[in-house]
Every structure is written in C-alpha cells, then in structure tokens.
C-alpha cells in the first residue's frame, strides 16, 4: 500500500516537472521564433492571428534593410567594434591580471576588487561628459570612440576574471619556471598564457556578447557611418507605427549571429559567468 502511494506521488511529480519543462521551453522559444518567422512573412500575414505555422517565406524585408537602410554597413560596424573592443579588453585585462599576480598577491586581489567598483558606475553617468570630451577630441564617429569605451566598460570585470583564473595556477609551476631561469615576461608568454586559454575564451565570449549588444554609448558616440546594428534597430523603435516586417528582419540579423556564437562557445560562456559565483 505504502509503495503504491509512493509511485503515484512519483508519477505526479514527473508529470509536474514535464509540464513545467514544456511551459519553460514555450516561454523561451516562442518569442524568438515569432520574430525570426515574422521576418520571412508578408506584412499582412504578420498581423494575422493565429499565426500560420506554414507559410511561404519571402525575403523582401531583408532586401529593404540592405538596399535602403544600409544594414550591411551596420553589420560591418558591429563586427569591427566588437572585435576591436574584445581584442583590446582581453589583451589589457590579461596583462593587468598578471601584473596583479606578480606584485604582492593580497594587494593584487584587492586592486582587482576595487576595479570591479567600476561596474557600479552607470553608463548614463559617464555618457554625457564622455560625449562632450569625445566631441572636443573630434573622436565621435570614429571606430576608436566606441571601441575604447566599450572596452573600458568590460575591463574591470575581465581583469577581475583573469586575476581569478591566474590565481588558480599553482605557484609551484611558476616557481619551478623561475628556478629554471625563466624571466617573468617569458613565464607569462610561455607558461601562463597557454594555461589561460579557457579563461581567455570565457573573457572573449563575454566581451563579444556585451559589445555586440550595447546600445547606450553607441547611440551617441557613433554617426551614420559607424552605427552598429543596435542603433539601426533603435532608430526604428522611435517611430509611431513600427514596420514589423523590417523590424523583425533587423532583430533577426542582430540576434542570430550572437546566438550561434554563444551556442558554440557555451562551455566558456557558462564558465565565465559562473567563475565569480562558485569560487566566491
């Protein structure tokens, strides 16, 4: 009797979990699916409820984006800005982390924590003065302005992340290399960097993600020639009546590449995000 009650309970629990799982998947996928599928639907079909599961895909929204709204330029700009700021951040961040490692270890950890305070500064607080400064320096509208700004926004976190990963490298290894007569620079390039490959991958995917997706700084620090995709989309949002076909296509162009990259670098994305939390 008791055992049977147990199985009933188990069946009910399994059913609840399966149902919750279904809800979770629907909740996650449906919004993405709608937008991607709408980008291939005729404008009239987008308004049609319920949406047809099978429809004849069209590409006119994408053609409009490319021929009238210069989205191929935005795409190129997003790529340049993301790659530039990621390269800069990861390079500077790992140098700084090694610098913190070879000065007194306790002080190093402290400094990387102080740097993390940079995360407390809202983008909006530095946007306006920075905008004035960049204007004075004639840098608005160049790639340098968004690259160095976005890089700086990620730098505190990346330095902190790399400091954590470097701290994990056993001291004996570094000491042994030092005994062999390795200089501190060659210890960095020949021992630490190869060991840091997974950490670098984590930093890269995190910075690529945040640079590719950034809006606020890009809105003001870029011009028609250097607009990234997010600004291209933001310009549609302001209008009273939104052209959903075009918007969906723009949203798809913006989110699909980063979702694909995230999928292939999932392992590193997860380890980068959890590094701080689990190690403490």
């Amino acid at each position: 009797m008791k055992r049977r009650r147990h199985t009933y309970k188990q069946i009910i629990w399994t059913a609840i979990i399966l149902a919750a799982l279904a809800v979770l998947l629907v909740w996650t996928i449906v919004p993405i699916y709608i937008v991607v599928s709408n980008s291939f639907r005729k404008t009239l079909e987008i308004k049609q409820m319920p949406p047809k599961l099978f429809f004849e895909p069209i590409f006119s929204h994408y053609q409009k984006l490319l021929s009238f709204d210069r989205f191929e330029v935005y795409f190129r700009n997003s790529t340049i800005i993301s790659i530039g700021s990621t390269a800069l951040t990861v390079f500077l961040g790992s140098l700084a982390a090694y610098g913190l490692k070879i000065c007194k270890s306790k002080l190093g950890r402290r400094i990387s924590n102080v740097l993390l305070l940079g995360k407390m500064v809202p983008a909006i607080t530095i946007l306006m003065p920075l905008f004035v400064m960049m204007n004075r320096a004639n840098l608005t509208g160049t790639y340098l302005a968004p690259i160095i700004t976005l890089s700086c926004m990620s730098l505190p976190f990346v330095t902190w992340l790399m400091t954590g990963f470097i701290a994990d490298i056993p001291n004996e290894l570094i000491e042994a290399a030092g005994m062999e007569g390795c200089s501190r620079v060659s210890i960095f390039t020949r021992i630490i960097m190869p060991l840091l490959k997974p950490a670098l991958a984590s930093a890269i995917i995190l910075v690529v993600k945040s640079s590719w997706n950034e809006l606020l700084f890009s809105l003001q620090l870029t011009n028609l020639n250097t607009y990234p995709l997010t600004v291209g989309i933001a310009r549609y949002v302001g209008s009273v009546s939104v052209d959903w076909g075009k918007c969906s296509a723009a949203a798809t162009i913006t989110m699909v590449p980063i979702i694909i990259i995230g999928f292939f670098m999932q392992k590193y994305l997860v380890s980068g995000m959890t590094a701080g939390a689990v190690k403490g």
Partner: protein, 302 residues
C-alpha cells in the same frame, strides 16, 4: 629558504607589475574617472547641449535641488527602484525554481534544456524590448492567446496603460535575464556536497526543509554574486524600456537612465541631465555598492 627567493614582492624599483597595470589603469582613468569628475564639474553649471558653453553660468547645487522638485524625476526614481526590486525578485524566484527543476533531469535532457534556455541571455536588450513590443501589441499574439481565457486589454492593458506598463517591462526583463540566474545557480547547486543531502535525508527532512535548511544557506554567496553582477544592471536599465515602451505612457515606465538621457538629448539640458545621472550613480552605490564592499571585506578577512 627556497620559497623566499621566489615570492615576488613589490620591491623598490620593480616596475614590471606597474608597467603591466598601467594601460588598464590609463584606459579606466580616461573613460571612467575623468568623465566622472568632468561631469560633476559640469553639473554645477547651467550648460545646454549645442549652445555656447559659458563658464559664467555657475548655479551651484541648484541642479541637484531641482531634482527633488521635479515630479518626473521623482517618478523615474520610484520606477527605477520598483523595476530593480521587481526584476531581481522575479529573476531569483523563477531562476531558483528552474535551476532546481533542471537538477532533477537526466544530464542530456538538462543540457538540451539549458542550451535552449540560454538563448535569451545572448540577445541584445534593445532586441528583447522590440520582441516584447510585438508580443504586447493589442492585436498581437499575447492577446490572441489571453483572449482564449477571456482576458483582453481591459483586464491586462500591458504597455498601453500607466498601471501595467512597468510590470510589462519587468516581465520582458525577466524573460531575458532569468537564464543567467539559472546558469549560475546550477553551478552553485552542483557545488554543494552530496553528503549534506544524504545527511538531511537520514534526518527525515522533506524537500522543503532540505531546501531552506541546506540548499539556501549554501547558496547565499552565489546569490550575492548574482546580485552584484546582474542586479546592478537593473538599476541602470535603459535599452529594454527604451525599445519596449519608450518610458510611456505618460512617463509611467520611465527609468532614471532614460530620463537623464532625454533631458540631455531631447531637451538639451546637459547640466541637469548630468545631475540626474549623478543621483542615479549615488542610488546604485547605496543599494549595491555598500553590500559589495561589505562582501569583499568579509572575504578579505577570511
């Protein structure tokens, strides 16, 4: 003796650590520290964007005093705090439920679900706002679905009414950020030693007691880190609201970041907008900075 030789310390004249740190510090000083002080300086004047900036328009603290007399600014402050608390509460609640559920699954299923669930995390907040703007369209898919249960715009007006517009933005934000909480919590849950659960099983504790007495206390540190890494972002919210409601209707969902932005770029009140953004920073620091410092001090002492 041997160890002493290789304990590199900051000896006098040892420039390498400084040299390695210098570029990072330089960039941070140039892009964060300098603009902060320049902004603080500008906020004491009455400078308009695009106009001739004159140094003789010194107004002292009056931009800051004006903030407390400005009903829209106060509304934005309340909205920002409500958004922050609402978003964090729902992210944590849903994230914990999902992470606990995922643990019950077989590893392959759990991997597939996690991969799918992670997608919103990668999407730009401005695109998230756009997606949800489509979903909330009164003739759109959400109301088609809700209509089957007899719920229309009259019962849940969504982004079209002041009463629910902020809630709507919180829902969109939850959709996008909960995956982060799920992933970090999953890692946290897996790091809890199995013996703890076995011990609680032997004690005859039910699932709820186990959760509150074993799981939750073990995860405190993880929750704090999530709060400091993603919670901070909620108080700076801009993109999602910008794309979803534009702050409306009637400023009912405007955030401090958005208000500062519109003061600068729509009204050209550069100095006032900087004052608003400085108060935003102060608020961020009061809510998250102090716990952050306490957390680090506690860790440093350990």
């Amino acid at each position: 003796m041997k160890q002493k030789t290789f304990e590199w310390s900051l000896e006098r004249g040892d420039l390498l650590p400084l040299l390695l740190l210098l570029p990072t510090l330089l960039v941070i000083i140039l892009i964060i520290v300098l603009p902060l002080f320049y902004g603080l300086f500008l906020s004491f004047f009455n400078i308009r964007l695009g106009g001739k900036s004159s140094v003789d328009s010194f107004v002292g603290l009056s931009n800051y005093l004006q903030f407390f007399r400005d009903p829209t600014a106060l509304k934005a402050t309340v909205n920002t705090v409500l958004f922050s608390f609402g978003a964090i509460a729902s992210d944590f609640f849903l994230g914990t439920l999902i992470a606990l559920g995922l643990l019950k699954l077989k590893s392959l299923t759990s991997w597939i679900v996690r991969t799918v669930v992670m997608m919103p995390l990668l999407i730009s907040p401005v695109v998230v706002g756009l997606i949800w703007r489509y979903i909330y369209d009164p003739k759109g898919i959400l109301y088609w679905f809700l209509g089957k249960f007899g719920i229309g715009t009259a019962q849940f007006p969504g982004v079209t009414a002041a009463s629910t517009s902020l809630l709507s933005t919180i829902i969109a934000h939850t959709w996008a950020v909960t995956p982060f909480v799920v992933i970090v919590l999953t890692a946290g849950l897996l790091s809890i030693p199995e013996e703890y659960y076995e011990a609680s099983k032997i004690d005859g504790a039910g699932p709820f007691r186990t959760f509150f007495q074993i799981t939750l206390p073990q995860l405190t540190n993880v929750y704090i880190v999530i709060l400091l890494v993603s919670g901070v972002d909620t108080i700076k919210v801009f993109d999602i609201i910008y794309a979803l409601t534009g702050g409306g209707p009637n400023n009912s969902s405007i955030s401090l970041s958005m208000y500062a932005y519109s003061q600068a770029y729509d009204q050209s009140n550069l100095s006032y907008s900087i004052a608003v953004s400085m108060i935003t920073m102060l608020l961020t620091f009061c809510i998250f900075g102090i716990p952050f410092i306490k957390h680090n001090l506690a860790k440093g002492n350990r």
